[in-house]
Protein backbone atom coordinates (compact mmCIF):
# COMPACT_ATOMS: atom_id res chain seq x y z
CA UNK A 1 0.00 0.00 0.00
CA UNK A 2 1.47 3.34 -0.91
CA UNK A 3 1.62 6.38 1.32
CA UNK A 4 -1.02 8.35 -0.55
CA UNK A 5 -3.54 5.53 -0.23
CA UNK A 6 -2.80 5.18 3.49
CA UNK A 7 -3.43 8.88 3.94
CA UNK A 8 -6.65 8.62 1.95
CA UNK A 9 -7.84 5.72 4.10
CA UNK A 10 -6.97 7.58 7.30
CA UNK A 11 -9.09 10.52 6.15
CA UNK A 12 -11.97 8.19 5.30
CA UNK A 13 -11.81 6.65 8.75
CA UNK A 14 -12.16 10.14 10.20
CA UNK A 15 -15.38 10.48 8.23
CA UNK A 16 -14.10 12.77 5.46
CA UNK A 17 -16.69 12.33 2.73
CA UNK A 18 -14.61 14.07 0.07
CA UNK A 19 -11.79 11.64 0.65
CA UNK A 20 -14.30 8.81 0.52
CA UNK A 21 -15.52 10.12 -2.84
CA UNK A 22 -11.97 9.78 -4.16
CA UNK A 23 -11.79 6.27 -2.77
CA UNK A 24 -15.05 5.35 -4.45
CA UNK A 25 -13.84 6.65 -7.80
CA UNK A 26 -10.67 4.65 -7.42
CA UNK A 27 -12.36 1.35 -6.60
CA UNK A 28 -15.85 1.56 -8.06
CA UNK A 29 -14.80 -0.12 -11.31
CA UNK A 30 -13.35 -3.08 -9.42
CA UNK A 31 -16.48 -3.51 -7.29
CA UNK A 32 -18.98 -2.82 -10.03
CA UNK A 33 -17.26 -5.08 -12.53
CA UNK A 34 -17.09 -7.98 -10.10
CA UNK A 35 -20.72 -7.63 -9.11
CA UNK A 36 -21.87 -7.20 -12.70
CA UNK A 37 -20.23 -10.48 -13.65
CA UNK A 38 -21.48 -12.32 -10.59
CA UNK A 39 -25.03 -10.99 -10.53
CA UNK A 40 -25.42 -10.79 -14.29
CA UNK A 41 -27.23 -7.48 -14.66
CA UNK A 42 -26.56 -3.77 -14.33
CA UNK A 43 -29.39 -2.90 -12.01
CA UNK A 44 -28.50 -5.36 -9.25
CA UNK A 45 -24.80 -4.60 -9.73
CA UNK A 46 -25.47 -0.91 -9.11
CA UNK A 47 -27.62 -1.52 -6.04
CA UNK A 48 -25.22 -3.93 -4.45
CA UNK A 49 -22.18 -1.77 -5.33
CA UNK A 50 -23.80 1.08 -3.51
CA UNK A 51 -24.45 -1.18 -0.56
CA UNK A 52 -20.82 -2.29 -0.60
CA UNK A 53 -19.50 1.27 -0.37
CA UNK A 54 -21.96 2.24 2.35
CA UNK A 55 -20.82 -0.81 4.29
CA UNK A 56 -17.20 0.12 3.68
CA UNK A 57 -17.83 3.63 4.97
CA UNK A 58 -19.52 2.39 8.13
CA UNK A 59 -16.93 -0.29 8.84
CA UNK A 60 -13.89 1.70 7.78
CA UNK A 61 -12.59 1.70 11.35
CA UNK A 62 -12.41 -2.10 11.38
CA UNK A 63 -9.91 -2.12 8.50
CA UNK A 64 -6.58 -2.69 10.27
CA UNK A 65 -4.32 -2.50 7.27
CA UNK A 66 -3.01 -6.05 7.73
CA UNK A 67 -4.04 -6.98 4.21
CA UNK A 68 -4.35 -4.97 1.06
CA UNK A 69 -7.33 -2.64 0.97
CA UNK A 70 -8.47 -4.08 -2.33
CA UNK A 71 -8.51 -7.59 -0.85
CA UNK A 72 -10.63 -6.37 2.03
CA UNK A 73 -12.89 -4.64 -0.46
CA UNK A 74 -13.24 -7.82 -2.50
CA UNK A 75 -14.20 -9.71 0.61
CA UNK A 76 -16.96 -7.27 1.42
CA UNK A 77 -18.07 -7.27 -2.21
CA UNK A 78 -18.34 -11.05 -2.24
CA UNK A 79 -20.22 -11.10 1.07
CA UNK A 80 -22.67 -8.49 -0.18
CA UNK A 81 -23.22 -10.51 -3.34
CA UNK A 82 -23.89 -13.62 -1.25
CA UNK A 83 -26.32 -11.71 0.98
CA UNK A 84 -28.06 -10.31 -2.05
CA UNK A 85 -28.45 -13.76 -3.57
CA UNK A 86 -29.82 -15.09 -0.32
CA UNK A 87 -32.33 -12.29 -0.20
CA UNK A 88 -33.42 -12.73 -3.76
CA UNK A 89 -33.45 -16.50 -3.34
CA UNK A 90 -32.99 -16.96 -7.03
CA UNK A 91 -30.29 -18.94 -8.65
CA UNK A 92 -29.63 -16.13 -11.10
CA UNK A 93 -29.94 -18.34 -14.11
CA UNK A 94 -29.90 -15.58 -16.63
CA UNK A 95 -32.16 -16.52 -19.47
CA UNK A 96 -32.06 -13.33 -21.45
CA UNK A 97 -28.71 -12.22 -22.71
CA UNK A 98 -29.90 -8.70 -23.39
CA UNK A 99 -27.12 -7.05 -21.44
CA UNK A 100 -24.47 -9.13 -23.05
CA UNK A 101 -25.82 -8.54 -26.55
CA UNK A 102 -25.95 -4.83 -25.99
CA UNK A 103 -22.42 -4.85 -24.76
CA UNK A 104 -21.07 -6.48 -27.86
CA UNK A 105 -23.30 -4.90 -30.42
CA UNK A 106 -20.94 -2.02 -31.24
CA UNK A 107 -18.08 -4.43 -31.80
CA UNK A 108 -20.14 -6.38 -34.27
CA UNK A 109 -20.75 -3.33 -36.42
CA UNK A 110 -17.33 -1.75 -36.24
CA UNK A 111 -15.01 -4.72 -36.59
CA UNK A 112 -14.03 -6.84 -39.58
CA UNK A 113 -15.26 -10.39 -39.93
CA UNK A 114 -12.37 -12.01 -38.10
CA UNK A 115 -13.34 -10.25 -34.89
CA UNK A 116 -16.96 -11.31 -35.15
CA UNK A 117 -16.03 -14.84 -34.30
CA UNK A 118 -14.07 -13.68 -31.27
CA UNK A 119 -17.00 -11.57 -30.09
CA UNK A 120 -19.38 -14.44 -30.55
CA UNK A 121 -17.11 -16.64 -28.51
CA UNK A 122 -16.89 -14.20 -25.62
CA UNK A 123 -20.61 -13.84 -25.65
CA UNK A 124 -21.06 -17.56 -25.35
CA UNK A 125 -18.44 -17.90 -22.61
CA UNK A 126 -20.15 -15.16 -20.61
CA UNK A 127 -23.54 -16.77 -21.08
CA UNK A 128 -22.30 -20.14 -19.89
CA UNK A 129 -20.51 -18.47 -16.99
CA UNK A 130 -23.87 -17.20 -15.79
CA UNK A 131 -25.20 -20.74 -15.81
CA UNK A 132 -22.53 -21.99 -13.43
CA UNK A 133 -23.21 -22.50 -9.74
CA UNK A 134 -22.75 -19.33 -7.70
CA UNK A 135 -19.58 -20.46 -5.98
CA UNK A 136 -17.97 -21.59 -9.20
CA UNK A 137 -18.95 -18.41 -10.99
CA UNK A 138 -17.56 -16.34 -8.16
CA UNK A 139 -14.16 -17.96 -8.30
CA UNK A 140 -13.96 -17.68 -12.09
CA UNK A 141 -14.88 -13.99 -11.89
CA UNK A 142 -12.21 -13.34 -9.28
CA UNK A 143 -9.50 -15.34 -11.07
CA UNK A 144 -10.09 -14.94 -14.79
CA UNK A 145 -11.97 -11.67 -15.07
CA UNK A 146 -10.58 -9.67 -12.15
CA UNK A 147 -7.22 -11.40 -12.33
CA UNK A 148 -6.67 -12.01 -8.64
CA UNK A 149 -3.81 -14.26 -7.57
CA UNK A 150 -4.48 -17.56 -5.80
CA UNK A 151 -3.23 -16.01 -2.56
CA UNK A 152 -5.62 -13.09 -2.86
CA UNK A 153 -8.55 -15.35 -3.63
CA UNK A 154 -7.73 -17.51 -0.63
CA UNK A 155 -7.85 -14.37 1.57
CA UNK A 156 -11.03 -13.00 -0.02
CA UNK A 157 -12.97 -16.24 0.29
CA UNK A 158 -11.23 -17.37 3.51
CA UNK A 159 -10.28 -20.75 2.06
CA UNK A 160 -6.92 -22.47 1.68
CA UNK A 161 -4.84 -22.13 -1.47
CA UNK A 162 -5.29 -25.83 -2.13
CA UNK A 163 -9.04 -25.38 -2.11
CA UNK A 164 -8.71 -22.36 -4.40
CA UNK A 165 -6.73 -24.46 -6.85
CA UNK A 166 -9.17 -27.35 -6.95
CA UNK A 167 -12.18 -25.07 -7.14
CA UNK A 168 -10.76 -23.12 -10.06
CA UNK A 169 -9.91 -26.34 -11.83
CA UNK A 170 -13.39 -27.76 -11.31
CA UNK A 171 -15.09 -24.56 -12.38
CA UNK A 172 -13.03 -24.37 -15.56
CA UNK A 173 -13.76 -27.99 -16.44
CA UNK A 174 -17.44 -27.31 -15.85
CA UNK A 175 -17.33 -24.27 -18.08
CA UNK A 176 -15.47 -26.13 -20.79
CA UNK A 177 -17.94 -28.98 -20.81
CA UNK A 178 -20.83 -26.57 -21.00
CA UNK A 179 -19.24 -24.71 -23.89
CA UNK A 180 -18.51 -27.89 -25.81
CA UNK A 181 -22.26 -28.48 -26.02
CA UNK A 182 -22.88 -25.08 -27.62
CA UNK A 183 -23.10 -24.55 -31.37
CA UNK A 184 -19.82 -22.67 -31.38
CA UNK A 185 -17.13 -24.90 -32.73
CA UNK A 186 -14.33 -25.03 -30.22
CA UNK A 187 -13.21 -28.35 -31.54
CA UNK A 188 -11.93 -27.17 -34.85
CA UNK A 189 -8.59 -26.11 -33.42
CA UNK A 190 -6.55 -22.93 -33.73
CA UNK A 191 -7.42 -20.18 -36.20
Amino acid sequence: MDVIELELLAKCIQGDLDAFGVLINKYSIQVYNTLHRILGNEEDAQDVSQEVFIKIYKNMHTFKGKSEFSTWLYRITINCAKDFNKKKKIDLLIDDTKDIEQEFSYEKSSNPEAAIEEVEKRELVLKELMKLKKNQRMIIVLRDIQGLSYEEISKVLSISIGTVKSRINRARIQLRQALLETPFDFKKGGH
Binding site: G21, Q46, E103, I173
Partner: protein
Protein backbone atom coordinates in the same frame (compact mmCIF):
# COMPACT_ATOMS: atom_id res chain seq x y z
CA UNK B 1 0.90 -39.46 -17.29
CA UNK B 2 -2.71 -40.53 -17.75
CA UNK B 3 -5.62 -38.44 -19.01
CA UNK B 4 -7.19 -38.07 -15.60
CA UNK B 5 -4.08 -36.57 -14.04
CA UNK B 6 -3.60 -34.38 -17.09
CA UNK B 7 -7.13 -33.06 -16.81
CA UNK B 8 -6.45 -32.14 -13.21
CA UNK B 9 -3.35 -30.19 -14.14
CA UNK B 10 -4.75 -28.20 -17.08
CA UNK B 11 -5.93 -25.37 -14.91
CA UNK B 12 -2.69 -25.22 -12.93
CA UNK B 13 -0.70 -25.21 -16.14
CA UNK B 14 -2.61 -22.23 -17.50
CA UNK B 15 -1.98 -20.31 -14.32
CA UNK B 16 1.66 -21.41 -14.16
CA UNK B 17 1.11 -23.12 -10.85
CA UNK B 18 2.69 -26.33 -12.00
CA UNK B 19 6.04 -27.87 -11.11
CA UNK B 20 8.62 -28.18 -13.84
CA UNK B 21 8.54 -31.93 -13.69
CA UNK B 22 4.77 -32.05 -14.08
CA UNK B 23 4.94 -29.58 -16.92
CA UNK B 24 7.38 -31.72 -18.85
CA UNK B 25 5.29 -34.82 -18.28
CA UNK B 26 2.16 -33.00 -19.35
CA UNK B 27 3.71 -31.66 -22.55
CA UNK B 28 4.67 -35.20 -23.46
CA UNK B 29 1.15 -36.42 -22.82
CA UNK B 30 -0.48 -33.59 -24.75
CA UNK B 31 1.58 -34.43 -27.83
CA UNK B 32 0.39 -38.01 -27.77
CA UNK B 33 -3.24 -37.52 -26.62
CA UNK B 34 -5.52 -35.60 -28.96
CA UNK B 35 -8.43 -35.39 -26.52
CA UNK B 36 -6.35 -33.88 -23.72
CA UNK B 37 -4.61 -31.45 -26.03
CA UNK B 38 -8.00 -30.30 -27.30
CA UNK B 39 -9.24 -29.83 -23.73
CA UNK B 40 -6.14 -27.87 -22.87
CA UNK B 41 -6.49 -25.63 -25.90
CA UNK B 42 -10.20 -24.95 -25.30
CA UNK B 43 -9.69 -24.19 -21.62
CA UNK B 44 -6.89 -21.79 -22.52
CA UNK B 45 -9.16 -20.13 -25.08
CA UNK B 46 -11.93 -19.72 -22.51
CA UNK B 47 -9.57 -18.22 -19.94
CA UNK B 48 -8.16 -15.87 -22.58
CA UNK B 49 -11.66 -14.74 -23.58
CA UNK B 50 -12.49 -14.02 -19.98
CA UNK B 51 -9.23 -12.13 -19.51
CA UNK B 52 -9.97 -9.97 -22.50
CA UNK B 53 -13.50 -9.06 -21.46
CA UNK B 54 -14.26 -5.36 -21.66
CA UNK B 55 -14.47 -3.64 -18.32
CA UNK B 56 -17.96 -2.51 -17.43
CA UNK B 57 -18.00 0.91 -15.86
CA UNK B 58 -20.41 2.10 -13.18
CA UNK B 59 -22.62 5.08 -14.05
CA UNK B 60 -21.05 8.54 -13.94
CA UNK B 61 -22.92 9.72 -10.85
CA UNK B 62 -22.24 6.53 -8.88
CA UNK B 63 -19.85 8.12 -6.39
CA UNK B 64 -22.16 11.11 -5.85
CA UNK B 65 -25.10 8.77 -5.25
CA UNK B 66 -23.23 6.78 -2.63
CA UNK B 67 -22.17 9.96 -0.81
CA UNK B 68 -25.77 11.20 -0.91
CA UNK B 69 -27.00 7.88 0.41
CA UNK B 70 -24.51 8.00 3.27
CA UNK B 71 -25.51 11.55 4.15
CA UNK B 72 -29.22 10.79 4.27
CA UNK B 73 -28.73 7.34 5.79
CA UNK B 74 -31.56 6.19 3.58
CA UNK B 75 -30.08 2.98 2.28
CA UNK B 76 -29.51 1.67 5.73
CA UNK B 77 -33.04 2.38 6.89
CA UNK B 78 -34.52 0.62 3.93
CA UNK B 79 -32.78 -2.58 4.87
CA UNK B 80 -33.56 -2.43 8.56
CA UNK B 81 -37.23 -1.76 7.81
CA UNK B 82 -37.38 -4.82 5.62
CA UNK B 83 -35.75 -6.83 8.34
CA UNK B 84 -38.19 -5.40 10.91
CA UNK B 85 -41.11 -6.34 8.68
CA UNK B 86 -40.00 -9.94 8.43
CA UNK B 87 -39.56 -10.16 12.20
CA UNK B 88 -42.98 -8.58 12.74
CA UNK B 89 -44.57 -11.03 10.34
CA UNK B 90 -43.02 -13.95 12.17
CA UNK B 91 -44.17 -12.57 15.52
CA UNK B 92 -47.74 -12.04 14.34
CA UNK B 93 -47.89 -15.53 12.85
CA UNK B 94 -46.51 -16.95 16.07
CA UNK B 95 -49.09 -15.12 18.14
CA UNK B 96 -51.93 -16.34 15.96
CA UNK B 97 -50.78 -19.91 15.86
CA UNK B 98 -50.24 -20.00 19.59
CA UNK B 99 -53.55 -18.32 20.22
CA UNK B 100 -55.26 -21.04 18.23
CA UNK B 101 -53.23 -23.84 19.75
CA UNK B 102 -53.48 -22.70 23.35
CA UNK B 103 -56.94 -21.12 23.07
CA UNK B 104 -57.43 -17.41 23.15
CA UNK B 105 -56.20 -16.27 26.58
CA UNK B 106 -58.96 -13.70 27.04
CA UNK B 107 -61.45 -16.48 27.52
CA UNK B 108 -63.23 -16.83 30.84
CA UNK B 109 -60.98 -19.65 31.95
CA UNK B 110 -57.91 -17.53 32.14
CA UNK B 111 -56.33 -15.90 35.15
CA UNK B 112 -56.49 -12.19 34.64
CA UNK B 113 -59.63 -12.14 32.55
CA UNK B 114 -61.68 -13.77 35.27
CA UNK B 115 -60.40 -11.16 37.71
CA UNK B 116 -61.46 -8.35 35.45
CA UNK B 117 -64.83 -9.94 34.93
CA UNK B 118 -65.40 -9.96 38.65
CA UNK B 119 -64.19 -6.39 38.90
CA UNK B 120 -66.55 -5.34 36.18
CA UNK B 121 -69.47 -7.03 37.82
CA UNK B 122 -68.69 -5.46 41.12
CA UNK B 123 -68.24 -1.98 39.76
CA UNK B 124 -71.34 -2.34 37.64
CA UNK B 125 -73.46 -3.05 40.65
CA UNK B 126 -71.84 -0.32 42.67
CA UNK B 127 -72.25 2.45 40.18
CA UNK B 128 -75.58 1.48 38.81
CA UNK B 129 -77.08 0.39 42.06
CA UNK B 130 -78.54 -2.55 40.32
CA UNK B 131 -80.13 -4.71 42.92
CA UNK B 132 -79.19 -7.86 41.15
CA UNK B 133 -75.77 -6.83 42.27
CA UNK B 134 -76.61 -8.03 45.74
CA UNK B 135 -77.00 -11.48 44.37
CA UNK B 136 -73.65 -11.26 42.66
CA UNK B 137 -72.11 -10.35 45.99
CA UNK B 138 -73.75 -13.29 47.58
CA UNK B 139 -72.35 -15.56 44.95
CA UNK B 140 -68.98 -14.00 45.39
CA UNK B 141 -69.04 -14.40 49.16
CA UNK B 142 -70.17 -17.88 48.60
CA UNK B 143 -67.23 -18.72 46.42
CA UNK B 144 -64.87 -16.90 48.78
CA UNK B 145 -66.02 -19.03 51.65
CA UNK B 146 -65.74 -22.10 49.51
CA UNK B 147 -62.10 -21.28 48.95
CA UNK B 148 -61.17 -20.48 52.55
CA UNK B 149 -62.91 -23.46 54.06
CA UNK B 150 -61.44 -25.84 51.56
CA UNK B 151 -63.26 -28.99 50.68
CA UNK B 152 -64.10 -29.96 54.24
CA UNK B 153 -67.70 -28.88 54.17
CA UNK B 154 -70.25 -29.37 51.48
CA UNK B 155 -71.48 -26.49 49.41
CA UNK B 156 -74.82 -26.07 51.16
CA UNK B 157 -73.38 -26.08 54.65
CA UNK B 158 -70.82 -23.45 53.86
CA UNK B 159 -73.31 -20.99 52.59
CA UNK B 160 -76.15 -20.29 54.96
CA UNK B 161 -78.39 -17.92 53.14
CA UNK B 162 -80.10 -16.70 56.27
CA UNK B 163 -76.99 -15.49 58.07
CA UNK B 164 -76.25 -12.52 55.86
CA UNK B 165 -76.40 -8.93 57.03
CA UNK B 166 -77.35 -6.47 54.33
CA UNK B 167 -76.50 -2.85 54.44
CA UNK B 168 -77.59 -0.22 51.94
CA UNK B 169 -76.62 3.41 51.39
CA UNK B 170 -78.44 5.70 49.04
CA UNK B 171 -77.92 9.39 48.27
CA UNK B 172 -80.80 11.30 46.77
CA UNK B 173 -81.26 14.82 45.44
CA UNK B 174 -84.77 16.05 46.24
CA UNK B 175 -86.80 19.21 45.76
CA UNK B 176 -88.16 19.29 49.27
CA UNK B 177 -86.22 17.35 51.84
CA UNK B 178 -88.91 17.58 54.52
CA UNK B 179 -91.61 16.21 52.31
CA UNK B 180 -89.35 13.48 50.99
CA UNK B 181 -88.26 12.38 54.45
CA UNK B 182 -91.86 12.24 55.57
CA UNK B 183 -92.85 10.15 52.56
CA UNK B 184 -89.96 7.80 53.19
CA UNK B 185 -90.89 7.37 56.86
CA UNK B 186 -94.45 6.54 55.87
CA UNK B 187 -93.29 4.04 53.35
CA UNK B 188 -90.86 2.37 55.78
CA UNK B 189 -93.54 2.01 58.43
CA UNK B 190 -95.91 0.51 55.87
CA UNK B 191 -93.22 -2.04 55.07
CA UNK B 192 -92.96 -3.06 58.70
CA UNK B 193 -89.67 -1.28 59.25
CA UNK B 194 -88.67 1.31 61.84
CA UNK B 195 -86.54 4.42 62.06
CA UNK B 196 -83.29 4.00 63.92
CA UNK B 197 -81.86 7.44 63.56
CA UNK B 198 -82.74 10.60 61.70
CA UNK B 199 -81.25 14.03 61.34
CA UNK B 200 -82.10 17.11 59.37
CA UNK B 201 -80.38 20.40 58.86
CA UNK B 202 -81.88 23.61 57.63
CA UNK B 203 -79.51 26.19 56.30
CA UNK B 204 -79.96 29.90 55.77
CA UNK B 205 -82.40 30.55 52.97
CA UNK B 206 -80.60 33.70 51.87
CA UNK B 207 -77.31 32.02 51.14
CA UNK B 208 -77.21 31.18 47.52
CA UNK B 209 -75.76 27.71 47.45
CA UNK B 210 -76.75 24.91 45.14
CA UNK B 211 -77.50 22.60 48.07
CA UNK B 212 -79.17 24.04 51.14
CA UNK B 213 -81.16 21.66 53.34
CA UNK B 214 -80.03 18.16 53.91
CA UNK B 215 -81.04 15.31 56.15
CA UNK B 216 -80.41 11.68 56.65
CA UNK B 217 -82.47 8.78 57.89
CA UNK B 218 -81.19 5.48 59.15
CA UNK B 219 -83.85 2.80 59.31
CA UNK B 220 -84.35 -0.93 59.41
CA UNK B 221 -86.57 -2.99 57.16
CA UNK B 222 -87.27 -6.72 57.18
CA UNK B 223 -84.49 -8.45 55.19
CA UNK B 224 -87.04 -9.97 52.85
CA UNK B 225 -88.08 -6.50 51.77
CA UNK B 226 -84.54 -5.06 51.45
CA UNK B 227 -84.22 -5.19 47.65
CA UNK B 228 -87.76 -3.97 47.12
CA UNK B 229 -87.19 -1.04 49.46
CA UNK B 230 -83.91 -0.01 47.87
CA UNK B 231 -85.63 0.04 44.49
CA UNK B 232 -88.55 2.03 45.82
CA UNK B 233 -86.33 4.63 47.54
CA UNK B 234 -84.97 5.76 44.18
CA UNK B 235 -88.43 7.04 43.32
CA UNK B 236 -88.34 9.62 46.08
CA UNK B 237 -85.72 11.75 44.41
CA UNK B 238 -82.88 11.77 41.98
CA UNK B 239 -80.39 9.11 42.91
CA UNK B 240 -76.77 10.26 42.98
CA UNK B 241 -75.15 7.18 44.42
CA UNK B 242 -76.06 3.79 45.80
CA UNK B 243 -74.02 1.34 47.75
CA UNK B 244 -75.04 -2.09 48.87
CA UNK B 245 -72.88 -4.38 50.87
CA UNK B 246 -73.44 -7.63 52.61
CA UNK B 247 -71.60 -9.46 55.37
CA UNK B 248 -71.82 -13.15 55.79
CA UNK B 249 -71.81 -14.04 59.50
CA UNK B 250 -72.75 -17.70 59.13
CA UNK B 251 -69.45 -18.92 60.53
CA UNK B 252 -69.50 -16.70 63.59
CA UNK B 253 -73.15 -17.52 64.14
CA UNK B 254 -72.48 -21.23 64.00
CA UNK B 255 -69.58 -20.91 66.42
CA UNK B 256 -71.70 -19.10 68.95
CA UNK B 257 -74.50 -21.64 68.58
CA UNK B 258 -72.20 -24.58 69.20
CA UNK B 259 -70.63 -22.84 72.18
CA UNK B 260 -74.11 -22.21 73.52
CA UNK B 261 -75.04 -25.88 73.11
CA UNK B 262 -71.98 -27.04 75.02
CA UNK B 263 -72.71 -24.54 77.79
CA UNK B 264 -76.29 -25.82 78.01
CA UNK B 265 -75.04 -29.38 78.39
CA UNK B 266 -72.65 -28.17 81.07
CA UNK B 267 -75.54 -26.41 82.84
CA UNK B 268 -77.68 -29.58 82.80
CA UNK B 269 -74.84 -31.57 84.29
CA UNK B 270 -74.18 -29.00 87.00
CA UNK B 271 -77.88 -29.05 87.92
CA UNK B 272 -77.74 -32.83 88.30
CA UNK B 273 -74.63 -32.60 90.47
CA UNK B 274 -76.37 -29.99 92.59
CA UNK B 275 -79.31 -32.35 93.20
CA UNK B 276 -76.99 -35.13 94.31
CA UNK B 277 -74.69 -32.93 96.37
CA UNK B 278 -74.74 -33.61 100.07
CA UNK B 279 -72.12 -31.28 101.47
CA UNK B 280 -72.72 -27.58 101.70
CA UNK B 281 -69.20 -26.83 100.41
CA UNK B 282 -69.87 -28.86 97.27
CA UNK B 283 -73.17 -27.11 96.78
CA UNK B 284 -71.48 -23.72 96.96
CA UNK B 285 -68.76 -24.70 94.50
CA UNK B 286 -71.30 -26.11 92.05
CA UNK B 287 -73.53 -23.09 92.52
CA UNK B 288 -70.71 -20.65 91.65
CA UNK B 289 -69.74 -22.72 88.63
CA UNK B 290 -73.36 -22.80 87.53
CA UNK B 291 -73.45 -19.07 87.90
CA UNK B 292 -70.45 -18.61 85.59
CA UNK B 293 -71.96 -20.90 82.96
CA UNK B 294 -75.28 -19.06 83.08
CA UNK B 295 -73.59 -15.68 82.69
CA UNK B 296 -71.78 -16.93 79.62
CA UNK B 297 -74.99 -18.40 78.27
CA UNK B 298 -76.74 -15.11 78.68
CA UNK B 299 -73.96 -13.30 76.88
CA UNK B 300 -74.14 -15.74 73.99
CA UNK B 301 -77.90 -15.45 73.81
CA UNK B 302 -77.64 -11.70 73.58
CA UNK B 303 -75.07 -12.00 70.80
CA UNK B 304 -77.31 -14.35 68.91
CA UNK B 305 -80.30 -12.09 69.27
CA UNK B 306 -78.19 -9.19 68.08
CA UNK B 307 -77.15 -11.14 65.04
CA UNK B 308 -80.73 -12.24 64.45
CA UNK B 309 -81.88 -8.66 64.63
CA UNK B 310 -79.18 -7.54 62.20
CA UNK B 311 -79.96 -10.38 59.87
CA UNK B 312 -83.70 -10.10 60.00
CA UNK B 313 -83.74 -6.36 59.71
CA UNK B 314 -81.50 -4.81 57.07
CA UNK B 315 -79.97 -1.44 57.70
CA UNK B 316 -80.54 1.32 55.16
CA UNK B 317 -79.14 4.84 55.28
CA UNK B 318 -80.78 7.51 53.15
CA UNK B 319 -79.07 10.83 52.60
CA UNK B 320 -81.36 13.51 51.34
CA UNK B 321 -79.98 16.66 49.75
CA UNK B 322 -82.22 19.51 48.77
CA UNK B 323 -81.11 20.87 45.41
CA UNK B 324 -82.29 24.17 43.93
CA UNK B 325 -81.14 23.23 40.48
CA UNK B 326 -82.54 19.78 40.34
CA UNK B 327 -81.47 17.99 37.24
CA UNK B 328 -84.56 15.91 36.78
CA UNK B 329 -85.93 18.48 34.38
CA UNK B 330 -82.99 19.11 32.08
CA UNK B 331 -80.37 16.45 31.79
CA UNK B 332 -76.95 17.67 30.79
CA UNK B 333 -75.21 15.30 28.44
CA UNK B 334 -71.76 16.55 29.39
CA UNK B 335 -71.63 14.87 32.74
CA UNK B 336 -72.05 11.57 31.01
CA UNK B 337 -69.69 12.61 28.26
CA UNK B 338 -66.81 13.01 30.68
CA UNK B 339 -67.80 9.81 32.41
CA UNK B 340 -67.86 8.02 29.08
CA UNK B 341 -64.52 9.45 28.11
CA UNK B 342 -62.95 8.33 31.35
CA UNK B 343 -64.59 4.93 31.06
CA UNK B 344 -63.31 4.51 27.53
CA UNK B 345 -59.87 5.68 28.57
CA UNK B 346 -59.71 3.27 31.45
CA UNK B 347 -60.95 0.37 29.40
CA UNK B 348 -58.37 1.12 26.72
CA UNK B 349 -55.61 1.18 29.30
CA UNK B 350 -56.88 -2.08 30.71
CA UNK B 351 -56.90 -3.65 27.30
CA UNK B 352 -53.39 -2.41 26.67
CA UNK B 353 -52.15 -3.75 29.98
CA UNK B 354 -53.86 -7.05 29.33
CA UNK B 355 -52.22 -7.24 25.93
CA UNK B 356 -48.80 -6.53 27.40
CA UNK B 357 -49.36 -9.15 30.08
CA UNK B 358 -50.55 -11.52 27.38
CA UNK B 359 -47.43 -10.98 25.31
CA UNK B 360 -45.19 -11.51 28.32
CA UNK B 361 -47.00 -14.72 29.25
CA UNK B 362 -46.95 -15.79 25.62
CA UNK B 363 -43.22 -15.21 25.34
CA UNK B 364 -42.63 -17.56 28.20
CA UNK B 365 -45.17 -20.03 26.89
CA UNK B 366 -43.38 -20.01 23.55
CA UNK B 367 -39.94 -20.81 24.95
CA UNK B 368 -40.46 -24.60 24.87
CA UNK B 369 -41.61 -24.36 21.25
CA UNK B 370 -38.64 -22.20 20.37
CA UNK B 371 -36.28 -24.82 21.67
CA UNK B 372 -37.64 -27.13 18.98
CA UNK B 373 -38.31 -24.57 16.29
CA UNK B 374 -35.03 -22.64 16.37
CA UNK B 375 -32.79 -25.54 15.30
CA UNK B 376 -35.27 -26.34 12.52
CA UNK B 377 -35.23 -22.72 11.35
CA UNK B 378 -31.46 -22.75 11.49
CA UNK B 379 -31.25 -25.89 9.39
CA UNK B 380 -33.69 -24.46 6.86
CA UNK B 381 -31.73 -21.25 6.68
CA UNK B 382 -28.44 -23.01 6.27
CA UNK B 383 -29.33 -25.70 3.76
CA UNK B 384 -32.48 -24.65 1.95
CA UNK B 385 -32.01 -20.93 1.47
CA UNK B 386 -28.34 -21.18 0.72
CA UNK B 387 -28.83 -23.90 -1.88
Amino acid sequence: MDCKRCNELISDNIDNKISNWDKEEMDKHLKSCRKCSNNFRITKEIVDSLNQLEEVKPPQDFSANVIKEIKTGKGNKKMSFKRFLSYAAVLVCGVFVTAIVLQWPFSKNDYYSSDTMAMQEESAYRTMGDLNGAEITEDKLDSDLGITDGGEMSYNNVFDRDKIIYHGDINLDVKDSEKASKDIRDYIEAQGGFIENSYSNKSDENRNEPYTNHSYIVFRVPASKFNQTMEKLKEFGEETSTNINSTNVSTQYRDIESEKQSLEIQEDRLLNYLKEAKKVEDMITIESELNRVRTNLNRLNTELTNYDRLIDYSNITVNLRESKTLTTTIKSPFGQLIENISKGFISSINLLLQSIAFIIVLTFRLIPFLVILLPIAWVIKKYVLKR
